[in-house]
């Protein structure tokens, strides 16, 4: 198993891993609070100021899977993989306007999750459950994929095992993660995020300086990559690939960016990171400073291009970045970079499992199983659920092909967009009714899923022409295809609007208009 191990890289890797493990366990004493209270364990006591929030959200949003998968897409087909950049540009103005409102109303009423807010606003248990289950369903494959990212770098260190033994290092890492998340809650990934984010910035900045110097400049790099894409298209004329987008890729590119932006902050882990902030102003400041991570993400995407120029030839595009780093960096720095990526899996995996646990405890267990659950009971259940979720993700890696996790995550994104209307409209108006939003959600889920059911595989885009059963062909006449999440949420929104006009709800609204203003906005 360890015959081909790159010892230098591995020793550096293990050192940094051990470092964050110690930090993870010590975190429970940081900004000390009663970790038997769910808001302390699950939201860090809502005490994370702008800097901590920056490290946490950055570490949470820019994950190991992102570092592996985005360049993998660029390596495979070029410009289309860059969608991650416009997607992140679109997010921050939107967050600036909406998240302080959600933070303010959540702080006022003790909401910890999307489901909490939706129930408080609309008084509809069905909608609350729908929002919660969507979040949990979409998060599960995402955690599994972090493990895939971690395993890619472990393999690149030279560790090869047979059968289940191949997953041994991953299992050890995950058990350790599970232990300190159990004891420290959100404080653990928040502290670890400091280390991880600094490491990622270091190795990416080094890469974009060193690699162009080594290869002779960006012009040479892009030319070389361009030739690779041309060869690919020559071999397979149906393939859409290139240094810039092909005409059929433009509609999908734009709608994928928009749809992904709409979905991102609906995920439990993104909301968890946001609601843990100490003020609305901390969130606003972060919308100006988190774009630094977007820039790094753009550079990470370029690694896919650089891999071609450096002569990296791999059959699985996900191996492109690890192999590139091994090729251009000395062993010890490759080990450092791999550690950054692997730790980059731990932070989001921890926050995702905490977010899913918060959601299950508050919006599934409490309303439907035990409404009398105590504060201690809540945090106990959440801790257990976060363990179960991690074990489940590990089981996924052991028993399910990676392709399935990738497909599920793709669907998860489509599903996650569908709670956007309920959440975001709710921050501004009560005109919509809970049941109408629930129907809209259901329509969006069904439509999004069925659009993604391609002939041979799950697909993320679909032409804007449909065969509606019993009615016939419906063609919007627009020549392009769109991201299924985007198409589905438009229909979702229309359905919810039409139904809300006729189906008024008398359910109580716990909130008042003033609750959505934080002090800075009111000042």
């Amino acid at each position: 198993m360890i015959d081909n191990l790159n010892w230098t890289a591995t020793i550096v890797f293990v050192f940094f891993f051990a470092l964050v493990t110690v930090i993870g366990f010590m975190a429970s004493h940081w900004k000390a609070g009663d970790l038997n209270q769910l808001h302390e364990w699950g939201l860090g006591g809502r005490r994370f100021g702008p800097w901590i929030t920056w490290f946490l959200l950055g570490g949470d949003l820019y994950t190991a899977y992102t570092v592996i998968a985005i360049p993998a897409l660029v390596y495979a087909i070029g410009a289309y993989g860059f969608f991650a950049v416009p997607y992140t540009i679109l997010i921050y103005p939107f967050l600036y306007l909406t998240m302080p409102r959600l933070w303010a109303v959540s702080r006022k009423h003790g909401y910890l999750t999307a489901g909490d807010f939706v129930f408080g606003r609309y008084g509809d248990k069905g909608l609350e459950l729908a929002v919660a289950l969507t979040g949990i369903l979409a998060t599960m494959p995402y955690i599994a994929l972090q493990l895939v990212g971690m395993e890619k770098v472990i393999q690149a260190l030279g560790f090869h095992g047979e059968g289940y033994l191949a997953h041994l290092p991953l299992t050890i890492a995950f058990i350790i993660l599970a232990l300190y998340t159990y004891s420290s809650g959100l404080r653990a990934p928040a502290m670890i995020a400091f280390v991880k984010d600094i490491m990622i910035y270091i190795f990416i900045i080094a890469a974009v300086i060193i690699i162009p110097i080594q290869l002779g400049g960006f012009g040479v790099i892009f030319d070389a990559a361009g030739k690779v894409y041309e060869a690919k298209v020559a071999a397979d004329p149906k393939l859409q690939a290139g240094l810039i987008l092909t005409a059929p890729q433009i509609g999908p590119y734009v709608t994928l960016a928009i749809g992904s932006a709409m979905a991102l902050f609906m995920y439990p882990h993104a909301l968890t990171g946001t609601l843990a902030a100490s003020s609305g102003q901390a969130i606003r400041r972060n919308t100006m400073t988190l774009p630094a991570y977007s820039f790094v993400l753009g550079l990470i995407a370029l690694l896919g291009i650089m891999a071609h120029a450096a002569g990296v030839k791999v059959t699985n595009p996900q191996d492109a970045v690890p192999q590139l780093l091994l090729k251009v960096f000395p062993d010890w720095f490759a080990g450092f970079s791999f550690a950054a990526i692997a730790i980059g899996a731990l932070v989001p995996a921890a926050v995702m499992s905490i977010g899913a646990a918060n959601t299950f405890t508050r919006n599934v267990w409490k309303p439907f199983v035990n409404p009398q659950v105590t504060s201690l009971g809540e945090s106990t259940i959440a801790k257990l659920v976060s363990l179960i979720v991690k074990v489940g993700a590990l089981a996924f890696i052991f028993f399910v092909p990676t392709k399935f996790a990738v497909d599920l995550q793709l669907l998860g994104g489509v599903w996650m967009v569908q709670i956007f209307p309920a959440m975001i409209l709710g921050l501004y108006t009560r005109w919509y009714s809970g049941p109408a939003l629930l129907v809209g959600w259901a329509v969006g889920m069904i439509l999004g899923t069925s659009l993604s059911w391609g002939a041979a595989a799950w697909i993320s885009v679909h032409g804007l022409a449909w065969d509606i059963p019993l009615i016939g062909k419906f063609d919007l006449g627009l020549g392009f295809a769109a991201y299924n999440g985007f198409t589905a949420v438009i229909v979702n929104f229309l359905v919810a609007t039409i139904l809300s006009a006729v189906w008024k709800s008398k359910a109580p609204d716990q909130t008042q208009a003033a609750d959505y203003e934080d002090e800075a906005a009111a000042a």
């Binding site: 410009a79 860059f82 950049v85 416009p86 992140t88 540009i89 679109l90 921050y92 103005p93 600036y96 306007l97 400049g217 960006f218 012009g219 040479v220 790099i221 892009f222 240094l243 810039i244 987008l245 433009i250 590119y253 734009v254 960016a257 928009i258 606003r284 919308t287 100006m288 400073t289 774009p291 630094a292 977007s294 820039f295 753009g298 550079l299 370029l302 800075a520 906005a521 000042a523």
Partner: protein
């Protein structure tokens, strides 16, 4: 005004056909890549400016 500042970079970003090209390049980086990368700090600045405007209003 605040909303205009927040919206402007977003509008530019989704007008992909405008920047889906190789030239003019910057240090060998095609337009498609450097423009989108540049839009990132531009949008961060726009948010900062919008925040200033919002704070200046009573």
């Amino acid at each position: 005004m605040k909303y205009l500042l927040l919206l402007a970079p977003c509008v530019l970003t989704v007008l992909t056909p405008l920047y889906n090209a190789l030239t003019p390049d910057f240090l060998g980086i095609p337009l498609f890549y450097w423009l989108q990368l540049l839009l990132i700090p531009v949008s961060a600045l726009a948010i900062w400016a919008a925040d200033r405007v919002a704070k200046a209003q009573p």
